[in-house]
C-alpha cells in the first residue's frame, strides 16, 4: 500500500512536482497545518511578507521576471480579502499566479465562523478559475489543475481554497497527469491561410506598423527573438504598449517608442495614419486607442492574440489570428522566407515615404522637457538613472502615476521580462512588493522600483520583508509631494482645483529607511543627483532614495480624453511656445 499523506503535505508535494522554489505568504489560523509542514520541504522557500497584498504583488514580480507562476499562501478571511487587489491586478495584466488560501473547517462553512469569508465567491470575478476543495481525494488533482489553468493559454491568477479539516485528513498522493488540453480547448486556432493573408497584406502595404503588447512577453523569450527577426526582416516601424516594453530594443531605430495616452508623437501619429496595423499580443485598451471611433481610420487591422475574446472586443479587425504569439510569428517568418525572401529590399522603396513622414514626427522630439539647474526634473532623474544603470541588465518595477509614465518614456528596455508595472488595474503600491519578488527570483541582479511618494506609502511595510531576506532592492522615489497624475488631471480638466491630491504630512524617507534598518539617500539638486545615484548603486543593501523633484511638472505628451491619436498635447511648450529643446540643454 502506498503511503498516506495529510492535506498539508499534499500541498507541498504538489508544489515540488510543479517545480515551485519560492512561495510568498503570511500565516494564520486556517493555514497553520500547512505552515507546520513547511520545514519538511527544504526545496521550497517561504518569503514572509508584511501584508497579503504584498505577497500577491511579490508573486507577480516573481512571475513576470522569471516566466514561472508565482505562488501565494494566505489564511482565510482577511488573509484572502487582502490578496484580492493583487489577484485582480494579475487578472488584468495576464500574470500566472496560484494562490492557496486556508478556509475554516468544512462543518463551519456558512456559519459566519471566525475569519470565515466566501473566498471563492469574492475571488470568482478576479481569477481565471477557483476551487473550494471539500474532499481530500480531490486535493492533489485540483492543485495540479490550478497550475495548468494559471499557466496555459492567456495566463492569469487562480485560487485554491482549502478548509482546515482537509489539511489534516490523509490520502494517497497523485502525481500530475501529462495533459495539455484544457477541456478540449487548444490555443492555436489559425491555419496557413491566415498567415498567407497576413503576408499578402504586408507586401501590399506602404504605411505599415507593428503594434505589440504584453502577449509577446507572456509567450516567452523566444517570442521576443522572433519578433525582432520579423521586424528586421520587414523593415517596418514598431511601437509597443506599456506592457510590451522590452520585447523589442528600446534604442533601436525602427522602434517608435511607446504609444497611447502618454506615448510618443511619432508612435501615435503612425498608428493614426498607417494603412496596415499588425497588433501582436495587445488588446486595444482604452489608454491605447483614445477616441475609439476615430482610431486609425484608414488602416487594415490584423490582430494576433491567444485569447479569442480579445478579438473584435474594442476594435473590429480585418484579419484575426488566434494563437500563441511565438507559434504565429514562427509560421509567419517561415512563410515570409519561403515566399518573399527579398521582402526587405522590395519593400524599402515602398515604405520610404512612410519613414520620411515618421522622421518628421520624430523631429518634434515629443519627450523633450524644459530643463532646470535648480530643481531636479523628474524626467531628468529617470534619464540619469537609465544612463547610470543601462549596462547592468537591471530589472525595473514601478508604482502607478506620473513616475510610471516617465519611466516608460525615458528608461529604454532591451530585453523582455525586465519591466514590471501595473498597467490594466493601475495599482498604486504595486512596485515595492513586486521588486521584492523580482529580487527573490534574481538575487544577483539590480532591481529598482521607480516610485512616487504617494504610491510607495501604500505598501511601504514590505521594506521590512526586503531587509529580512537581504534583498537589496532600490526604491527610487520621485518625490513631488503630490499624487502627480491626479494633480495633472485636476490642472487640465478641473480648473486647478487640487482637491485632496497634496500630501501635507509625508514621512522623512531617509529616517524611514533607517527605521526599517536599510539605507536612506536624498537628492535635492540636479548637481548632486549622479553622485547620489552612484552611491545607491554601490550600496549592497535595500535603499530608499528620496529624489526631490519639481512639484508641478506634468507628464507629456498626452492624448487628452475623447481625442484621437493625431490630436496630442505636446507639453507646456504647446501653449507657451517657449520651446527649449535638446536633452538637458541647461544641464548636461
Amino acid at each position: 500500500m502506498s503511503k498516506l499523506y495529510s492535506g498539508a503535505e499534499i500541498v507541498f508535494k504538489c508544489m515540488e512536482d510543479q517545480n515551485v522554489d519560492h512561495i510568498f505568504g503570511y500565516p494564520g489560523g486556517a493555514v497553520l497545518p500547512i505552515y507546520d509542514e513547511l520545514q519538511n520541504f527544504k526545496s521550497i522557500k517561504h518569503v514572509l511578507v508584511r501584508h497579503e497584498q504584498g505577497a500577491g504583488h511579490a508573486a507577480e514580480g516573481y512571475a513576470r521576471s522569471s516566466g514561472k507562476p508565482g505562488v501565494i499562501l494566505v489564511t482565510s478571511g482577511p488573509g484572502a480579502t487582502n490578496v484580492v487587489t493583487a489577484l485582480t491586478d494579475a487578472y488584468m495584466d495576464s500574470i500566472p499566479l496560484v494562490c492557496i488560501s486556508g478556509q475554516v473547517p468544512t462543518h463551519l462553512i456558512g456559519t459566519d465562523a471566525f475569519q470565515e469569508c466566501d473566498t471563492t465567491g469574492i475571488t470568482r470575478p478576479c481569477t481565471k478559475h477557483n476551487w473550494l476543495v471539500k474532499d481530500i481525494n480531490d486535493l492533489a488533482n485540483t492543485i495540479h489543475k490550478a497550475f495548468e489553468v494559471a499557466t496555459t493559454g492567456r495566463p492569469g491568477p487562480v485560487l485554491v481554497d482549502i478548509p482546515k479539516d482537509i489539511q489534516f485528513q490523509k490520502t494517497k498522493y497523485k502525481k500530475p497527469k501529462k495533459e495539455n488540453k484544457l477541456n478540449g480547448k487548444s490555443h492555436n486556432h489559425f491555419n496557413q491561410n491566415s498567415i498567407d493573408k497576413l503576408i499578402e497584406l504586408m507586401s501590399k502595404s506602404s504605411k505599415p506598423i507593428f503594434y505589440t503588447g504584453g502577449g509577446v512577453i507572456n509567450s516567452g523569450p523566444k517570442a521576443s527573438e522572433l519578433l525582432r527577426e520579423l521586424v528586421y526582416a520587414t523593415g517596418f516601424p514598431i511601437t509597443s504598449t506599456l506592457q510590451g516594453l522590452g520585447s523589442f530594443p528600446g534604442d533601436d531605430n525602427q522602434f517608435l517608442g511607446m504609444l497611447g495616452m502618454h506615448g510618443t508623437y511619432e508612435a501615435n501619429n503612425a498608428m493614426h495614419d498607417c494603412d496596415l496595423m499588425i497588433n501582436i499580443g495587445a488588446r486595444f485598451d482604452d489608454r491605447i486607442t483614445g477616441k475609439i471611433d476615430e482610431f486609425s481610420p484608414k488602416s487594415k487591422k490584423v490582430h494576433i492574440d491567444i485569447d479569442p475574446s480579445s478579438i473584435n472586443k474594442n476594435v473590429k479587425v480585418d484579419l484575426a489570428i488566434v494563437g500563441d504569439v511565438k507559434t504565429v510569428l514562427s509560421s509567419t517568418l517561415k512563410s515570409l522566407k519561403q515566399k518573399k525572401s527579398k521582402f526587405l529590399n522590395s519593400n524599402k522603396q515602398k515604405t520610404s515615404k512612410w519613414w520620411e513622414k515618421i522622421q518628421k514626427w520624430r523631429s518634434i522630439r515629443s519627450l523633450d522637457y524644459i530643463g532646470s539647474e535648480e530643481t531636479i526634473k523628474p524626467q531628468y532623474a529617470i534619464e540619469r538613472l537609465y544612463e547610470l544603470t543601462k549596462d547592468k541588465d537591471s530589472y525595473i518595477t514601478t508604482e502607478v502615476g506620473q513616475h510610471q509614465m516617465w519611466a516608460a518614456q525615458h528608461y529604454k528596455f532591451n530585453k523582455p521580462n525586465r519591466w514590471m508595472t501595473s498597467g490594466g488595474l493601475g495599482t498604486m503600491g504595486y512596485g515595492l512588493p513586486a521588486a521584492v519578488g523580482v529580487q527573490v527570483a534574481h538575487p544577483k541582479k539590480l532591481v529598482i522600483d521607480i516610485a512616487g511618494e504617494a504610491s510607495v506609502l501604500m505598501t511601504i511595510q514590505e521594506m521590512s520583508t526586503a531587509v529580512q531576506y537581504n534583498l537589496p532592492i532600490k526604491i527610487f522615489i520621485l518625490n513631488n509631494q503630490y499624487m502627480g497624475m491626479v494633480r495633472q488631471w485636476q490642472e487640465l480638466l478641473h480648473d486647478k482645483n487640487y482637491s485632496e491630491s497634496y500630501t501635507a504630512a509625508l514621512p522623512d524617507f531617509v529616517k524611514l529607511a533607517e527605521a526599517y534598518n536599510c539605507v536612506g539617500i536624498r537628492a535635492k539638486t540636479p548637481e548632486e543627483l549622479d553622485d547620489k545615484i552612484i552611491e545607491m548603486l554601490n550600496t549592497d543593501r535595500p535603499v530608499i532614495f528620496d529624489c526631490m523633484v519639481d512639484k508641478v511638472e506634468n507628464c507629456f505628451p498626452m492624448i487628452p480624453s475623447g481625442k484621437p491619436h493625431n490630436q496630442m498635447i505636446l507639453g507646456p511648450k504647446d501653449q507657451e511656445s517657449k520651446k527649449i529643446t535638446g536633452k538637458g540643454k541647461s544641464l548636461v
Binding site: 465567491g121 470568482r124 481565471k128 478559475h129 478540449g184 480547448k185 482604452d286 480624453s561 475623447g562
Partner: protein
Amino acid sequence: MPNSKSAYSFSNKKEKFDTHIIVVWVDNEAGVLARVVGLFSGRGYNIESLAVAQVDEKLNLSRITIVTTGTPQVVNQIKLQLRKLVPVHKVADFKREDKAVIFKEMALFKIVGPNNKLEGALKACKKYNPVILDKTKKSNVIQITALRREIDKMSKDLKKFGLVSVSRTGAVAMTRGADIFK
C-alpha cells in the same frame, strides 16, 4: 455629456439590440451558475430569462439557457467569454427569429372566480396546450407552454377572468430535425 472632463471618453453611439438565446453546456459543479451569471452581471450584459437543470447525470452535465439582448459585438463577446470559463463545454447561440430552433417557456396561472370565469380562462388559453393541474370549485391552476410574448399577453388577458398568481420559467431551446448542436 458635455466636453468630457474625464480620464475616459464617452460614446453616444446608439446601436441596434438583437435578442439571442444562448445555450451553455457546463459541468454540474458548485458555483458554476454563479460563474455564468456573474460573467453577465460583471460585464454588463443583460439576462432576460434563465433556465438551468442537469441534463446528463452520468456525464454530470447541466444545460443553461439564457435569453439576452445586445449588439452583435456584445453577443459575440458573450459567447467568447463564456467559452473561456473552465467548466463550460460548449456554447450555442440562436437568434429568436431562427425558424430552425424551437423556443418554449412554461407558465402556471392561478385563476380564482365563478365557474364561467374559470371556463373563460381555459378557453382563452386554448391555443397554448392548456393543462388543468389543480381544480376546486372556486379556482383553477392552468399550465401552458408558449413563447415569451404569448405568455406576456396571456398574463394580461387573463386578468379579467380572475388571474391572481403567475409563475413562469425561462425559455428553453432545441434545434428542429435530426441534427444536434455540436
